[in-house]
Amino acid sequence: MSAEVSSIGGLPASRRLEGIMCRFAGGATLPVGFILISLGILEILARTLTVPEVLFPSPGRVLTALVINAPALCHHAALTVSQVVVALIISLAVGVAVATVFTLSRVINKMFAPLFVVLQIIPKIALAPLFVVWFGPGAMSHLSFAVCLSFFPILAGARAGFEETSADAVRLCSALRASRWQTLIHVKLPMALPQLFVGAKVSTTLCIIGVVLGEFVSANAGIGWYIVRAAALSQTANILAALVVLSLFGLLVYGMVAAGEIAVRRRMFG
């Protein structure tokens, strides 16, 4: 494997790695510099203007809050993120299952597909308090609310994927007397994977939004609860620190989905 890699382009692996690092560093200087300079300007502004810390904590204060509260933040973030992951898995399963039913039965497709399109466009975020009424203030209501938000992009992605399967491949399957089910498993599902991942990436962010908003509305733990409590106590630095932790965890989950997509692409298209 390594010999294969090093032989590409006739360069030894170490030189190639160096080249990649150089290019990466060249590409990263501007963005990283921009972020650092913006943070520096914010820090200087916060110190010279003497804005009350409730309104505008300097980046340094946020960092201090982050370090001091790290154990508590990690505890709450882990709780939130585990719910996000479970919600994502549930909505993947349900979304693909519903899309499968839609492709297998034309009548059900005609009956329910327009309904789902309308449901997709309705702002479901307004339902958050209703889930508390239904499931009580706990993990169950956050999970189900997150699934309710994140299920639709996966359904849309899977349906688009199924519908974009090349007609030739489907015709070949029927010529070879493959059953509908076999066609689905062996042809349509693999071909739908790229679109499915587009949906899964959208739904990852929606899952995070769903769980955090559920925690806003009612919870006694989790990062959303932490943020609301910090806001009630006017600890702005703590809000921002919680947001940094949440963003890091969120990017981690998103990165995992994106890595899955790349792995699947590699296996399917070489």
């Binding site: 501007l30 963005p31 510099g33 921009f34 972020i35 409730v54 309104l55 005609k110 009956m111 329910f112 597909a113 327009p114 309904l115 399109v117 997709q120 466009i121 309705i122 702002p123 479901k124 975020i125 307004a126 339902l127 958050a128 308090p129 209703l130 508390v132 009424v133 239904w134 639709f152 992009p153 849309a156 992605g157 349906r159 688009a160 587009v198 959208v202 962010t205 929606l206 995070i208 939004i209 769903g210 955090v212 908003l213 806003f216 990062i223 959303g224 943020i227 609301v228 910090a230 806001a231 006017s234 702005t236 809000i239 919680a242 947001l243 949440l246 963003s247 969120g250 990017l251 998103y254």
Partner: protein
């Protein structure tokens, strides 16, 4: 004949299905299969929506007004910034990764912070919703403006078209489909942002009514408000869709089918 029957099917089947679901729902609630404390019967909710319309109306208008203002604000800023990013390479290289990262962050979590910054008022709702709906529009505009066919650009340059002419007559028309899909996402996020900030500010708007009704366990009022939220969302989304159709038709571009895309799902 066959075609006509299939078209009738396409409209009648979902409609019939909807009516069945609503009737079943009504029946289930009135016969106490489901507690009316967890689901309001649809006709009761409609009755409440009609009887308390004069109370709801200012809140409906407040939500619709805030959503529309947010959408206009973030689409103007977003398209402008997208164009700026396309023309200014160094700025683009510096800012683009941050923009993509911000697009992915769960920005909803910042809602309480906007209240701390701007107070309990329309400004805080507008700025929060604008902050949420702005990023997809910038990124879609940038992607659209950069997707122009290079052959066409070369042709224009060889005919000595000025950069301004190229922008208005070539790049912008080419970018319309992507910009419009960004605007659709932006519109959905605008109404989401407005409702979340109404949850948090609890001052006016349908989000406020929903929180208020749920804490009083007035489930029928809550469903009436939910119905209005859905109606506003559908209307605004339809308006953007119509705008897209009109612009594409005037440009003479093919109008694609209405198969919904994952990115356009409204949270």
């Amino acid at each position: 004949m066959l075609k006509r029957s299939s078209r009738a099917q396409r409209i009648l089947l979902p409609l019939l299905n909807c009516i069945c679901i609503v009737l079943l729902w009504q029946y289930a609630v009135t016969h106490r299969w489901i507690s009316p404390l967890s689901l309001a019967a649809p006709f009761d909710a409609a009755k409440v929506a009609a009887s308390s319309f004069d109370i709801l109306l200012p809140h409906i208008l407040a939500t619709a007004y805030a959503t529309l203002l947010t959408f206009l604000l973030s689409s103007v800023c977003g398209i402008f910034l997208g164009a700026l990013l396309m023309h200014w390479r160094a700025f683009r290289l510096a800012v683009y990764p941050s923009l993509v990262m911000f697009q992915l962050l769960p920005k909803i979590a910042l809602a309480p912070l906007f209240v701390v910054w701007f107070g309990v008022n329309l400004i805080s709702r507008l700025s929060f919703a604008g902050f949420i709906s702005f990023f997809p529009i910038v990124l879609a505009t940038l992607a659209g403006l950069r997707a122009t066919d290079p052959l066409v650009l070369n042709l224009c340059r060889s005919m000595r078209a000025s950069p301004v002419q190229i922008f208005w007559q070539v790049r912008l028309p080419y970018a319309v489909p992507l910009i419009m899909s960004g605007l659709k996402v932006g519109m959905t996020l605008a109404i989401t942002g407005v409702i979340v900030s109404e949850f948090v500010t609890v001052q006016s708007g349908l989000g406020y009514i929903i929180v208020f009704a749920s804490s009083n366990l007035q489930i029928d009022l809550m469903f009436a408000a939910l119905g209005w939220v859905s109606l506003i969302g559908l209307m605004f989304y339809g308006a953007v869709l119509l705008l897209e159709r009109i612009i594409l038709m005037r440009l003479g571009a093919p109008v694609t089918g209405a198969l919904s895309r994952p990115g356009e799902a409204v949270p």
